[in-house]
Symmetry: C2
Subunit: 266 residues, 2 copies
């Protein structure tokens, strides 16, 4: 009997160590990866006043030396497509992209789904009540969480009319923007009361389309929270339990940057 217990203990320990050993291999013990990133192309969604993504062919074909070769060059504004917002975007003393420690780019995700309300109202403001409703089911939003909100608008990307209310370009188009965003009061609540690390969503801006003073950006960034915009596939995340990896291009002094973001689901 004693031998059996020892044997079982050894087996349990061995099994668990096997699990740990595999947890960082490419199989991740059956963990599933979800890419939360839209492709960059000339279709990518940018703010009406910002430079779009443009790509030029440097060379694509057979070289005079006889082998195939292709290379491109490109240009864009920081704040378009799936991208990262650093605090300095709206806070003079805030960190720029390359100053955010890599430890802050990996963490536990909370996914709040407001798509039913947001799809019914293009000007929907994600509220403290939305987060409290989530907490009633899932428990308190943990400190340092990555709070991600699924508005459902990713399904319209990159159709600018449907996605953000207008496909027009230039300063006059800004007043025609209509898409959901985070209520500035909820921004302060997430930053100060819940002390989250990051906030992201599947619309062009964390402030809703009709914002004039961008107070959600300002409320988050003065508290050092980082942000992600134009995400996708948030509907594929569980309410909690996913780990996210949010890696921006490391632009020195950048107020934002193209972002590659991936979720790992247990």
């Amino acid at each position: 009997m004693k031998t059996n217990i020892i044997l079982i203990s050894i087996l349990i320990v061995a099994f668990l160590f096997t699990g740990i050993d595999k947890s960082y291999t490419q199989n991740f013990s059956g963990k599933k990866l979800v890419d939360l990133t839209h492709e960059f192309s000339e279709e990518s969604v940018f703010w009406p006043t910002a430079e779009n993504f443009n790509i030029d062919t440097v060379f694509a074909g057979i070289t005079e030396k006889g082998y195939y070769y292709s290379a491109y060059q490109f240009s864009l504004a920081e704040h378009g497509g799936t991208h990262f917002d650093a605090p300095v975007h709206f806070c003079e003393k805030g960190q720029s992209v390359e100053q955010i420690p890599v430890e802050r780019l990996i963490g536990d995700a909370v996914m709040v789904d407001v798509s039913a309300d947001a799809l019914a109202n293009r000007d929907y403001l994600i509220s403290i009540e939305d987060f409290e409703k989530w907490e009633k089911v899932n428990g308190k939003i943990p400190e340092d969480a990555f709070v991600l909100v699924n508005t459902g608008y990713s399904r319209f990307y990159p159709d600018k009319e449907k996605y953000m209310g207008t496909s027009e370009r230039g300063a006059e188009a800004v007043a025609k923007l209509h898409f959901p965003g985070l209520d500035p009061k909820a921004a302060t609540w997430l930053a100060v009361v819940r002390k989250v690390n990051a906030f992201g969503l599947d619309t062009p801006s964390i402030d809703y389309g009709q914002s004039v003073y961008f107070e959600t950006h300002r409320n988050l960034f003065k508290n050092g929270v980082i942000a992600f915009e134009n995400l996708t596939n948030l509907d594929k995340l569980p309410a909690k339990g996913a780990t996210v990896f949010a890696f921006p291009m490391k632009i020195k002094g950048g107020s934002g940057a193209p972002l590659r973001m991936v979720a790992m689901i247990p």
Copy 2:
């Protein structure tokens, strides 16, 4: 005695489960993160014939509405700074950046240090023997590994003269490039015999500076291997045991892209 054994078993199991539970939180149970990425700035190292990284200020200051705001726009060639090479860079039927599944962007790293030889010879070719020497100590390079080679040249970045042999620009500068790279025979061996997933190093190109036909690129890419160039901090990785996250900007049709790469060390 029996009770003790049961108690110890329970404690071991509880301890291990605690370890598992924390393995994907931001603390990663004491795992250390290392950023393998150089910053992008106008100092970044690009091929003598490629467009450099350029960044323009769109706005940085107090807006007429009374709050601080900053935003920039930038341009660059795909293959400069710390970047990703997709197989289509040198293989017409190869995958482009956005076609590489995210599952291939995370995996187990093998770090081979050739810095003593490479620092003594700017034209050093990393050979099959270098990998065999590593294998004698560490065991066979596993299938799907991320093979990373530390040449020691990252310490010179972004001093172009010291890093790649010349700071001159234009087509005539190419013949003056001198930096270590991977022997084309070793490229085939890694791709076909060891079936690795990825190869990366801390020089401007996986082919050495004096390469004319870029056979290392061609040998890896015709076999679907992906590559990373201008990495840094490789000297901080263990010979084995690190997990790496190699996330390129998701450029549709891209032959390469800016890369954010991070290693997690147990």
